[in-house]
């Protein structure tokens, strides 16, 4: 491109770029110039990705109160199998939900690994500790990358609120913690 001013040394090197490369660089520059959609800050959801049996599930980080090693869980007799028992969390007894069993997934073959964690989540005034096989990552997912889960009639699918691009299911905690099947063990007040 013709310019009327003296090019800097570094800018001179740019004039030696072959025509075909230049076209690509031009297109990239156009893409880069585009402001992010909407306001300067894209709306993102912070997700905590959990290993649950062979699958990965995610919960909204805002609902996560604490993560601890899977220890100190006292089993209680007579509860549905997805309840692992209770854990004493600084004087509060918090029910412990085995997510793998609750979601109907095959338990991971490694079973008792050091990675197993208790993830304390709270929503709708209820606190529950999830037993998970591992905590993988925290990711910041733009809203447009969260796809609604399959719109199937019935209750089961509501537990999964969204699915990310790479097929991590995001749990709908406010729904999950109100699941009537759970109320046997959860005293909401």
């Amino acid at each position: 491109m013709p310019t009327e001013f003296a090019l800097s040394h570094a800018a001179m090197a740019m004039t030696e770029i072959p025509e075909d490369v230049l076209r690509v660089l031009e297109e990239r520059a156009r893409q880069l110039a585009r402001p992010l959609d909407g306001d300067a800050v894209p709306e993102t959801t912070s997700l905590l990705v959990l290993q649950v049996g062979p699958e990965r599930y995610a919960v909204d980080v805002d609902a996560v109160r604490e993560i601890k090693p899977r220890e100190g869980v006292t089993p209680l007799p007579g509860l549905p199998s997805f309840w692992s028992g209770l854990v004493n969390q600084r004087g509060n007894l918090v029910p412990v939900l085995d997510l793998t069993t609750y979601l109907g997934l095959p338990s991971s073959p490694e079973g008792d690994t050091e990675e197993a964690k208790l993830v304390f989540v709270g929503a709708e005034g209820v606190e529950v500790a999830f037993v998970v096989d591992g905590v993988r990552e925290i990711r910041h997912t733009p809203a447009q990358d969260l796809h609604p889960s399959v719109p199937v009639e019935g209750d089961g699918v509501r537990i999964v609120q969204h699915v990310t691009k790479d097929l991590v299911s995001v749990l709908d905690l406010s729904y999950l913690l109100r699941d009537p099947a759970l109320t046997v063990g959860v005293d909401a007040k």
């Binding site: 001013f5 090019l7 800097s8 570094a10 800018a11 490369v21 660089l25 990239r28 402001p35």
Partner: protein, 175 residues
């Protein structure tokens, strides 16, 4: 500028829990040699884009790029460090560096890796006094196993591009 530096590299969190103090460096390549900047200085890494030349800039400023509505200067690290420059290729990286509210791009040959080093692995640059005006850009020399990495001082590398790097936004985005 040098306000009582206790560490060779600025902008590091002081270690409070007795763990050995460390640095994480983004290592990149220029003319087959390894250079680095602290990871806190690097906001993102882009693939090469077309750089628009601007008049009246230091020899090592290749021009400006519109980064999502914000015009930032692009520094050719080769020229800045006295290495013969060369035309960028499609996979040439631009490291987007951040200094406070300023942002600017740095053209390197390639990005190698990210290394974590303890404080003890860093040495002050030798006072060779080569007089070529490029040695002031070095903050430290880092030893990572067999590798000797030249750690740059972002502030000094980019000092001359600073007036260009003040936050400027394009208000009327034509597209």
């Amino acid at each position: 500028m040098d306000v009582g530096r206790t560490s060779l590299l600025p902008g590091r969190e002081p270690s409070t829990d007795g763990e050995p103090a460390g640095h994480t460096l983004v290592v990149f390549e220029l003319d087959g040699r390894e250079f680095a900047l602290p990871i806190q200085d690097i906001a993102e890494i882009l693939q090469m884009v077309l750089v628009t030349p601007v008049p009246e800039v230091p020899p090592w400023v290749a021009g400006v790029v519109n980064l999502r509505g914000r015009v930032i200067p692009i520094v050719d690290l080769r020229t800045r460090l006295g290495i013969a420059t060369r035309p960028p290729e499609l996979n040439t990286p631009i490291l987007i560096a951040e200094q406070g509210t300023r942002k600017l791009g740095l053209i390197a040959d390639a990005v190698r890796d990210v290394v974590s080093l303890e404080d003890a692995a860093l040495e002050p640059p030798p006072e060779l006094g080569t007089g070529d005006g490029h040695e002031d850009a070095v903050a430290a020399l880092a030893q990572a196993g067999e590798r000797l990495i030249v750690v740059l001082d972002l502030e000094r590398v980019t000092a001359d591009a600073a007036p260009l790097a003040e936050a400027r936004h394009i208000t009327d985005h034509a597209d």
